[in-house]
């Protein structure tokens, strides 16, 4: 990203812009938003539970979960057979709430 953005009269600093864009890109997909919505409600769920709710291919769900985990959006904790996913950062929920309440959508 452009260096010059560093000295701009933006309310959001360049580094934050990068991070925000990174997060938005990481969650900007219907399946991912659905996952976040479910995890926000239930605190945590394992993959099979999510798969049942979402009714999508196992590999596809796994892919989305891992991508979000890799990008720091989700946490994964293995408990025996299952892997429980949860939302990494509570402030993430505010973005989701914001979307959920956004009348424009």
């Amino acid at each position: 990203m452009n260096e010059a953005l560093q000295q701009l009269p933006l309310r959001i600093e360049a580094q934050k812009l990068e991070k925000a864009a990174f997060i938005l890109k990481a969650i900007g997909h219907p399946i991912r938003l659905a996952i976040l919505d479910l995890l926000d409600q239930t605190n945590q769920m394992h993959v099979s539970e999510l798969q049942e709710k979402l009714d999508i291919e196992q590999a596809l769900l796994s892919h989305h979960l891992i991508k979000m985990k890799d990008k720091g959006v989700l946490l994964a904790v293995k408990k025996g057979k299952y892997i429980y996913y949860s939302i990494a950062d509570p402030s993430m929920i505010r973005i989701i709430d914001c979307i959920a309440q956004c009348k424009a959508l």
Copy 2:
């Protein structure tokens, strides 16, 4: 997107998920967030003003503006020589504020 999502116990309905994802994808880029930040502060700006602030290629800026306009994020009004862009929906600003204030970023 998966039909079955329609009957899910999600707080956010399937259609809203699609729209939200669409918007998030449309704004999930550092340059676009910077544009939104500037437009939010100034209400409206024409392309040259934005270009000066952002210091990026004219064609690149034009591309981002038009994409956001096509996706309903921005409005464009031609006044003689200039084209003024503004944020289409005020509730969009809440998402941006949310991002700006998000400590996690």
